[in-house]
Symmetry: C2
DNA sequence: ATTTAGCACTCTAATCGTTAGAGTGCTAAT
DNA sequence: ATTAGCACTCTAACGATTAGAGTGCTAAAT
């Protein structure tokens, strides 16, 4: 509501910090003792009353310490401008690990999930880069058996898609190779719309193939992203808030509700933002399943081309500073790395680059 | 130790069944009441003494009911010959779902994990099919930018591998295409050994490329399998044995120890076997991390070519009947489906088929 | 020779006061 | 404005008590 004094802000931060550590309500005495505050517990107590009345703190019961409310966390996160960076040595170590496997994007995803989970001491989730507007780079048709062929699509940006299809009648690898070459020539750099526009000019095998390709790409663009890698589950399962059976345990279901996560990841817009990083606290009133969770989300990749999402998932008393700085760092690192390893050579044509 | 009487076997089964249901020690009265046994609790009690002395049951404390020991489960599983099949309607539903997405092997894996978790009410794990002895079907080189090229390998069986590589000097797509065609001609149907043998005949770009291909395949064959899909975590997390914090919660770590799972999956040989399905109970003395878990493992695919593993992971009091029948059914279904969709057309050359 | 009824005994888990301690809010003094 | 002091509150821990489920044994019944 009303603006807080500087001292109140500090006390709020300390309460949040202490509660993050201990997961138990924090009282005035404990605060003064632990942080060597040069004021008395009574003074702190007075401030706590204000913070409680403002809705940033809450008392489980009359004679207990204070617990941050979702509002409290939000205020704290918004004010968290100084968002500490990761230490230099850590940054270098992580960069090094990524450079080690710069050839295998699939590996990045796992590495990112692992690093994120370790650094934030919470669960992490990472999606592979997903082309926002796929453009074809190369098309290859390969005979497998009888009337079955394998369609391999290489997209601009390096993504490879494959699909098995049945033809109405058998063809030779010879024919397939010719068709591949023809279609690659014709549709190189094209996106779905352009393909569809030019589809009418084709006939026979070529037309069939391009119809499949279009279907496949439409489907791929519609689904936000295939898989969500999750790591650090045990970090979060051992937190006290997820040991009680009823409400708490039910909320673990979100770890399996991939669809929910995809939904979430899709609209990385709601909630607090912190230097390119989104912070969702307690589901923000919208996602009921997330009432017990906080989510720090970032994205990586090249906007307009291929992007992925990465994030930290933990209890409300998540260590936001650490989570945010790690997400931000990885977000930048992976984006740089992507730009470096697979620069888009069609950008000249499309003019999408600035 | 000594052979059990028929009645003792029945009672053992009932104890296991009841304990599976309730997760609490089962006593003589409860057994008689619940299963309408036409004998008195005293008689049952006498038999329970025998079963306990034989090591199949155990008492948490003097005046408690009985709990099955690992030995007890093993005996029970071994004797479980009648291994009930899944009901016909269920089988048909599942088959239908698989046929729906017969084009996308990646989807099978997820579907299998989902079905397995649902049917067994436990966690499930499934690995994608992994070629045991990869043979090249088609090789494609694609220019990306400057000196970077994308190497796409299509293996016999349909697996597609991709890898980004840097050349020492730039080449045109023209050159790459020629090289692709040449190498595909030359190495079609070859496995790693044959590639290595014929590598010396090559030079320049071709030699470089084949060296990468060999490296990649060696690495791929060495790692048992890339990813292990897990589903149904919440099924297992809500079980009472995993709510206590100490020993129990620590054992959840195995869900993240992908390496352990891969190790396990690799040697599908130890432990009890039940019609092609492996049953590991309580780590079988070898895997300490699995002391609290049981694992029902099966494999699918075409032996000698590409196989994957699928299994159920749950507490010791897992519903073995259900788990085994589901694993067996899926194992067969997926094997059939694989054979059907991607028959190996080089088998004539290699003579590996019977 | 089994099977079973009966009974004394054991152990857990739930219930219920009791209490120590951490914390609050208020008032009066600094 | 801050703080010392104090009465008050509420939880969580502790201990004692008890209901109930279960056992093992003995003696009677089949």
């Amino acid at each position: 509501m009303t603006e807080l004094s500087e001292r109140q802000k500090i006390i709020l931060s300390l309460v949040i910090h202490e509660y993050s550590r201990t997961a138990t309500p924090v009282g005035s005495h404990a605060l003064v003792a632990r942080y060597n505050l040069d004021m008395s517990s009574a003074t702190v107590r007075n401030e706590l009353v204000v913070l409680t009345e403002s809705g940033y703190l809450r008392q489980p019961h009359t004679s207990a310490g204070r617990v941050p409310t979702e509002e409290g966390y939000r205020y704290f996160v918004t004010r968290l401008t100084h968002a500490s960076e990761l230490p230099g040595t850590t940054r270098r170590t992580i960069s090094h690990q990524f450079y080690q496997m710069r050839n295998d994007v699939e590996q990045w995803v796992r590495l990112a999930a692992s690093v994120l989970a370790y650094q934030s001491r919470a669960a992490s989730l990472v999606t592979p880069p997903h082309p926002e507007h796929s453009r074809l780079k190369h098309l290859e048709l390969i005979a497998t058996r009888g009337r079955q062929i394998l369609v391999v699509l290489v997209m601009v940006g390096g993504e490879v898609r494959q699909r098995l299809q049945s033809l109405s009648e058998p063809v030779t690898q010879e024919q397939l190779s010719q068709s591949s070459e023809r279609l690659t020539q014709l549709f190189q750099g094209a996106d779905v719309n352009e393909m569809r526009a030019r589809l009418v000019q084709l006939q026979g095998l070529d037309a069939d193939v391009m119809q499949w390709v279009i279907d496949d790409l439409l489907q791929a663009d519609a689904i936000p992203t295939g898989e969500v890698y999750i790591d650090g589950l045990t970090n979060v399962l051992s937190e006290p808030e997820f040991t009680g059976s009823d409400e708490a345990r039910k909320s673990l279901r979100i770890l399996e509700e991939r669809s929910l996560l995809q939904d979430l990841v899709a609209r990385t817009s709601a909630g607090n933002t912190q230097g390119g990083v989104q912070v969702l606290i307690g589901g923000e009133g919208t996602w009921d399943e997330l009432r017990q969770w906080s989510l720090v989300l970032g994205s990586y990749g090249m906007p307009g081309q291929a992007t992925g999402t990465l994030g930290v998932l933990g209890p409300l008393r998540l260590s936001y500073g650490r989570a945010i700085s790690t997400v931000r760092f990885l977000s930048g690192l992976m984006s740089d790395l992507m730009a470096e390893t697979m620069l888009d050579e069609t950008s000249a044509n499309t003019g999408e680059m600035n």
